[in-house]
């Protein structure tokens, strides 16, 4: 069942990506990248490594964090529910099967696409700083998100108000998706909404790079807004989680500007690292 859903996601992304590369990035940048990719990869290697390490920690933490969370975490389901009450039931008035299908596909496919495409798009830019900032912002989102997930134990609206949400709950309308989300997250990890924060991060970057990718900017904003709304519409997140996601996104975008380029790895590790990163593309060439 999981394999089925994963194949579906891979298929959709596999179709969307090449099309978007052609539409948003253009031939010229592709040609230039082909000539420069080794240099860019070398410059970007440290931040790619950082992101991979954060993702790996995230993956490992999925096993160990719940235990830790039970010990140090604070239960906040009741607080969120008391503060915002039935706010997300607001969407009840606009609920239609079509809208539910739209938000469900945005939540799963749109979000995945929204995260992957900018990585490719910004790698295509000659100035590597945007790319490095984006990856740093991703890493920050995941890292801060993980810490908050450990400290705050809260269940989402779908766990509190199943009856009111039943027509549009993701796992009722599309039960197969729960196999996917179960792999990625625990049901007590709702604060903040990482779907929202990462989407908003992407939208913020799209705004900063709109001179380079003018067509991407409106698409990114609409998609990001849809993802944020979908998390509430589908009953997965509280309004508070989404608000916190937006704050987290803002913080990560600002922090990425402050952090990226601050340390040079060659200063830290000296020649050893230089030698290593020199060898990297050469190894590739030998293949």
């Amino acid at each position: 069942m999981l394999a089925e859903v994963l194949t579906q996601v891979a298929l959709v992304i596999g179709i969307l990506l090449p099309i978007s590369v052609l539409v948003f990035i253009g031939r010229e940048r592709l040609v230039r990248t082909r000539a420069e990719w080794r240099d860019r990869l070398r410059t970007n290697a440290p931040v790619i490594a950082v992101l991979l390490v954060v993702l790996l920690i995230n993956r490992v933490a999925r096993q160990t964090a719940p235990e830790l969370s039970r010990k140090v975490g604070v239960h906040l389901t009741a607080t969120f529910y008391n503060v915002e009450g039935e706010f997300i039931l607001l969407f009840k008035s606009v609920e239609t099967p079509e809208l539910t299908a739209y938000f469900a596909s945005v939540y799963v496919f749109g979000y995945t696409f929204l995260l992957i495409f900018p990585v490719i798009a910004y790698f295509m830019l000659s100035d590597t700083r945007t790319f490095r900032r984006l990856l740093a912002a991703y890493a920050l989102n995941y890292a801060i998100g993980l810490v908050l997930y450990i400290l705050i134990i809260a269940y989402g609206p779908r766990n509190v108000m199943p009856a009111e949400l039943t027509e549009r709950m993701l796992y009722d309308t599309n039960p197969q998706y729960q196999y996917l989300t179960r792999e990625v997250n625990a049901n007590t990890n709702v604060f903040p909404s990482l779907h929202t924060s990462l989407s908003a991060t992407v939208a913020a970057f799209a705004s900063m790079t709109r001179s380079a990718y003018p067509k991407w900017f409106p698409i990114a904003v609409v998609l990001a807004a849809s993802v944020a709304i979908s998390t509430m519409y589908l009953g997965i997140h509280w309004g508070i989680d989404v608000a916190a996601g937006l704050v987290l996104a803002a913080a990560c975008v600002v922090l990425s500007d402050k952090l990226v380029g601050r340390w040079s790895l060659s200063d830290l590790f000296g020649d050893r690292f230089e030698g290593l990163s020199d060898r990297l593309p050469r190894l590739r060439r030998e293949e």
Binding site: T77, A78, Y155, M161, T166, R182
Partner: protein, 599 residues
């Protein structure tokens, strides 16, 4: 307490009962800051506040809906309420082990015999930790009746149990809400011979006709990480444990069949202490003993022989898991059953004599606990005790909290492998007595069973329909029952009502120690509407935690609760009437309609 004992000859005067009630149902345990804070708050003019411990919809979709309906009505009568949402094992830990709760919503596993009420309500368990009396309820009159029903049989026993049920409906240490319909779906192309009534027990997984490995879906992942037969928090019901472990007798569709016991002989011996009021003898002044011969050459899954001394060990160990090396630490499960056993004497390897504290009905139930291997559990205790400092806090030390994987039992299935949160695989135990030609009992499936976690009822049904699994082993959520397809290879299986949804009260603390307050709360619960809207009519509302013939005529459901009917009509609460019930109970309201703590 405006009810009178229904049996005039029960030996307890009404006065002593009233005295017991007046002494308060609360049991004083060691002081804790939380309670001090509450008392201080309630002395002032603060709004009364309560928390309702409940489960996320992922774990039990109905539970939180019941909790929220109760929350809404409690708020309408001026009580400040917060929902305390916990995962299934955390909820059980908070309620059963830590006693940190005010109200909670649960689904009680109950049992095939109403004797489970002894475990749930007897005052000797009020300070213990585990499934035994989590409410902290203590009432001398109940104790007497609960003990008497154990010493009786037939109509007399039924009468005593009727009194317990009447008392329960008045005193309300917990309030049953409804019996949910217990439905599952199974494919009929891979396996045949489904016995729908027995699926909550080991018998549902025996005698199936089919060659491959049975693939069963469970919505609850706890069993993939914990197979400890003693654990209070890892499960509600014992189905999986019953596959891995044997018991002397086994319940099948309400009847008991000899299981590990090859023969069971009931006899009575005159009791020397028959004149003593504390006697365990039956109504005729006799003591029940059971002579049991175990089946020949039974072995545990590790190859060690299962003998009468393992049986004796099991009852001794469950009574005190520290085996006398630390302050007594009874197991957090099977407590009432073990209490029923006075002594176990091993005559030789296969023969043993069990002396009971009562008659056959409750005695039989005592013989359904899983038999544990002495060599495994003795080792565990020796290890724990080897470092000199050994303490065994009840329900909270390694014997009860360990995951106990791999489990060593003697049951029809043997543990093969597990992957936490994903699956548990059991293989057929080739040495099991059910496979012998001379034994006429259902055999385990040749290919064993794979239990896979599928978190949703709806997706589980779909998976069985698609041929991705043979059975939904967990009881299906009510909302998903409409999704059951009408296809030739999929059969709907329905088991009789046994488990029930209920509200449990922590009667240790004020104001929940006050039965009048509890009654006023139960009148806020609209069971008919809950059954209609939360269970889509796939449940039966009830005033009492037992079914069928055990329900006294006066407690039968007649469209509303016969003792504490919902204050309101058509699902709408009559707020003024509900409030006046609290005022009658001695509570006050402030000018803003908030219920104040204190009397």
């Amino acid at each position: 307490m405006n009810w009178s004992p229904s049996s005039p000859d029960d030996g307890v005067s009404r006065r002593s009962f009233l005295a017991a009630g007046a002494a308060g149902a609360a049991v004083t345990t060691s002081g804790c800051i939380d309670r001090v804070r509450r008392v201080v708050e309630q002395a002032g003019d603060n709004q009364l506040s309560l928390s309702i411990t409940t489960l996320p919809a992922d774990a039990d979709r109905q539970n939180v809906q019941i909790a929220r309906r109760l929350e809404t009505n409690l708020e309408k009568v001026g009580i400040d309420v917060s929902l305390d949402m916990r995962s299934p094992s955390e909820l059980l830990k908070a309620v059963l082990l830590d006693h940190e709760f005010d109200l909670y919503i649960g689904r009680h596993p109950a049992d095939y015999d109403p004797d489970f009420l002894y475990d749930a309500l007897h005052s000797t368990f009020a300070t213990e930790r585990g499934w035994q009396n989590p409410f902290g309820f203590a009432n001398m009159y109940f104790d007497t009746l609960l003990e008497e029903q154990r010493r009786l049989d037939g109509e007399q026993r039924k009468q005593r149990l009727g009194s317990v049920l009447h008392g329960l409906a008045q005193e309300k240490p917990f309030e049953p809400i409804c019996f949910p319909d217990e439905r599952r779906v199974a494919r009929t192309d891979g396996f045949e011979g489904w016995d729908e009534g027995t699926l909550p027990t080991r018998h549902g997984y025996l005698g199936l006709e089919g060659d491959g490995r049975l693939h069963a879906l469970v919505t609850d992942s706890r069993m993939t990480g914990n197979l400890n037969p003693l654990s209070a928090t890892a499960r509600e019901r014992d189905t999986t444990i019953d596959l891995l472990y044997d018991s002397l007798l086994s319940e099948r569709n309400g009847d008991l069949v000899p299981w590990l016991a090859e023969s069971v002989e009931w006899s009575a011996t005159p009791d020397d202490d028959a004149t003593d009021e504390q006697s365990d003898a039956n109504a005729d002044g006799e003591r029940r003993t059971v002579s049991i011969t175990l089946r020949e050459d039974c072995r545990f899954h590790d190859g060690e022989p299962l003998t009468a001394s393992d049986v004796a060990f099991t009852y001794r160990f469950l009574e005190d898991t520290s085996l006398g090396r630390a302050p007594e630490s009874p197991a957090p499960r099977y407590r009432g059953q073990v209490e029923m056993v006075d002594s176990v004497t091993a005559e030789d390897d296969r023969r043993l004599t069990i002396s009971l504290r009562g008659e056959k009905p409750a005695g039989q139930r005592a013989l359904t606990v899983p038999i544990l291997p002495k060599h495994v559990w003795q080792d565990l205790i020796d290890q724990q005790a080897s470092d000199g400092e050994f303490s065994a806090p009840q329900g909270r030390w390694a014997a009860a909290t360990g995951d106990h994987i791999p489990p060593i039992g003697s049951g029809p299935y043997r543990f093969e492998s597990h992957s936490e949160d994903e699956q548990v695989v059991l293989e057929r135990y080739e040495d099991h007595f059910t496979l012998r030609e001379t034994v006429d009992l259902g055999e385990p499936v040749p290919g064993g069973i794979r239990f896979t976690v599928d978190p949703g009822s709806t997706s589980s049904i779909r998976r069985v329909d698609d041929g991705g699994a043979d059975l939904t082993a967990s009881m299906l959520n009510a909302h998903s029952l409409g999704a059951i397809p009408d296809t030739p290879n999929v059969r709907q299986l329905s088991s009789p009502h046994r488990t029930f949804y209920y509200v449990g009260f922590n009667v240790r603390n004020a104001p929940l120690s006050n039965p009048h307050f509890r009654r006023a709360i139960t009148q806020l619960i609209d069971k008919e509407t809950i059954v209609d809207e939360v269970f889509y009519d796939h449940a039966t509302p009830t005033a009492t935690p037992v079914t069928d013939d055990w329900v006294p005529a006066t407690l039968e459901w007649g469209g509303e609760d016969p003792v504490t009917p919902f204050v309101g009509s058509n699902g709408r609460l009559n707020v003024e009437a509900a409030k006046s019930a609290f005022e009658t109970a001695g509570f006050r309201y402030d000018d803003n309609g908030r219920l104040l703590g204190g009397y």
